[in-house]
């Protein structure tokens, strides 16, 4: 939010060690020559904070970069897995074809790959205020792959006229195991831990989904054109990771300089 940072940092205060150069009458001058005032420590502390903020706002205003590009798949697309449906076939269909490798167009644009940055970020507390629906629809989880941030909510819903048993796990540990009858209430739960969550339906075992949770906002899921976009990336050295549920990881080390606009073309396998 560059606007807010601008308000906070403009005008930025002078450094503490230049107090003597400030015009008579300013608060800095008054502080300098009245050390016995009880507010002196507070003023000095405020000065330190303002100097610190000026450094941060300098980074926030000037240093942010953008990483964007495409993820593609090269080669023959593996055939879908065909599953014979034995439960609720009247609704789910007698057979379902499961194709996690969604490739579009002659260039091989890969959909539903998660592109993210691994590394140390200057800020720790990122705002997170939206939720992520996990919808049981037509005996499949929609969307099948979700990227989310800690502090956000996941909302599990059922749009089907049959029972679903949505079971979300982080590793072996159950995060949420809930029954959802037709027209039942949605269930909302906050994501507190980063990691890879698996989503299954214990009733329809062919249903599968993935929820990848980060403790930062620098991730993006590729769209049907294979595009991804990471915005407001602070300068630094990172590892860019691309994850796909069946194709695995692609990684690339990046050194992001201030105000850069990097475009990448990443190709599986």
């Amino acid at each position: 939010m560059p606007g807010i940072w601008s308000i906070m940092c403009s005008p930025c205060p002078p450094p503490i060690n230049s107090v003597g150069d400030i015009n008579v009458g300013s608060i800095w001058k008054a502080t300098r020559y009245a050390p016995r005032t009880p507010f002196a420590p507070l003023v000095v502390l405020a000065g330190f904070l303002l100097v610190l903020l000026s450094g941060i706002c300098g980074w926030a205003e000037d240093g942010l970069s953008t990483i964007s590009g495409t993820v593609r798949f090269s080669g023959a697309v593996p055939p879908p897995t065909i599953v014979n449906v034995l439960k609720d076939p009247e609704h789910c269909g007698v057979q379902v074809a499961i194709q996690p490798v969604k490739v579009h167009g002659p260039a091989g644009a890969l959909e539903s790959a998660i592109v993210s940055l691994e590394g140390t970020f200057p800020m720790k507390n990122f705002p997170a205020n939206s939720d992520h629906p996990v919808v049981n629809a037509q005996c499949a989880f929609t969307p099948r792959v979700i990227g989310a941030q800690t502090g956000q909510d996941v909302e599990v819903r059922n749009q089907d006229p049959i029972l679903h048993n949505t079971h979300i796990k982080l590793g072996k540990r159950t995060f949420l195991n809930v029954a959802q009858v037709p027209n039942g209430r949605p269930i909302i739960k906050m994501l507190k831990q980063p990691g890879h969550y698996s989503i299954k339906c214990d009733k329809h075992t062919f249903m599968e989904g993935h929820l990848v949770v980060f403790n930062h906002p620098f991730f993006s899921i590729t769209d049907s054109s294979g595009n991804f976009h990471l915005a407001q990336v602070p300068p630094g050295t990172y590892q860019l990771q691309v994850w796909h549920e069946t194709l695995g990881y692609l990684t690339q080390n990046l050194n992001i300089v201030a105000q850069s606009d990097l475009r990448l073309d990443l190709v599986y396998p």
Partner: protein
């Protein structure tokens, strides 16, 4: 000035006393855990293993390749809770399982004193400290309570069907629903498990009383496919108790 000096001494002594008091609480908690560990190593390690991974020597002989295996406390899946799905159990939940045991699987440890059972409870939580970082919230039981009656049980039958309990437990409650018969049910280790026979409440692992059943229905059994119905029965207190009464009515002794 003298009064101020005295006040300063008094303040310092008070703070020192308070620190000492808090330290003694902490020491008490630590000693509880240590004593709990000693009891665990004597009474629990045979099944649950030295490091709480459910891999003690008896675990292999009891159920090497079939479920349920002894709980792996390091994973942090607790089946028997009074808290929402995915949350930590309360201390009382762990204490209750220690006291009652699990029918057919784990013996009751009511032979231990109450204090010793609390000490073991404190020690078990050390195996998955991140799970217990936050205080758990207990799920509210439906209010008002509807006592057992045949009429309530009959009403509960329709709730049973609406919630599709028959998918696993079967239309007659004997644990022979389609999902069970297709061998689709597995626990968190991937081992195949069966559905509980609801006509035999003595075998209910989380207890067979009405209170036990409603707790199981609302919270689910983490680490198994038994889901939480808390959201689906929210605002339907009477239906929740009708369902419990229907399950109770399946028992020939009721």
């Amino acid at each position: 000035m003298r009064v101020q000096t005295l006040m300063s001494y008094w303040l310092c002594l008070s703070i020192a006393g308070l620190i000492g008091h808090v330290s003694s609480w902490a020491a008490l908690a630590d000693s509880d855990i240590q004593l709990g560990q000693k009891i665990y190593e004597r009474s629990c390690v045979t099944c649950h293993g030295e490091f709480g991974k459910g891999d003690g020597p008896a675990a292999f002989y009891n159920s090497a390749y079939s479920a349920p295996r002894p709980r792996d406390f390091t994973v942090g899946n607790y089946k028997f809770r009074s808290t929402p799905s995915g949350e930590a159990p309360t201390d009382q939940d762990i204490f209750r399982v220690l006291t009652n045991g699990i029918p057919g699987y784990m013996p009751s440890f009511s032979g231990l004193s109450e204090e010793q059972r609390w000490q073991v409870t404190a020690y078990l939580k050390q195996f998955s400290p991140d799970l217990f970082r936050e205080s758990p919230t207990v799920v509210d039981l439906p209010d008002p309570f509807i006592p057992f009656s045949l009429k309530s049980a009959q009403q509960g039958r329709s709730v049973y069907l609406e919630m599709e309990c028959q998918a696993c437990h079967g239309l007659d409650g004997r644990g022979t629903g389609a999902t069970t018969l297709m061998n689709d049910l597995a626990d968190s280790r991937g081992l195949q498990i069966s559905s509980t026979d609801l006509t035999f409440p003595q075998s209910f692992k989380n207890g067979g009383t009405g209170q036990d059943i409603i707790r199981t229905v609302l919270t689910g059994l983490d680490g198994t496919p038994m889901p939480s119905y808390e959201a689906q029965l929210q605002g339907r207190s009477e239906d929740a108790w009708h369902l419990v009464n229907y399950v109770l009515s399946l028992s020939p002794t009721h």
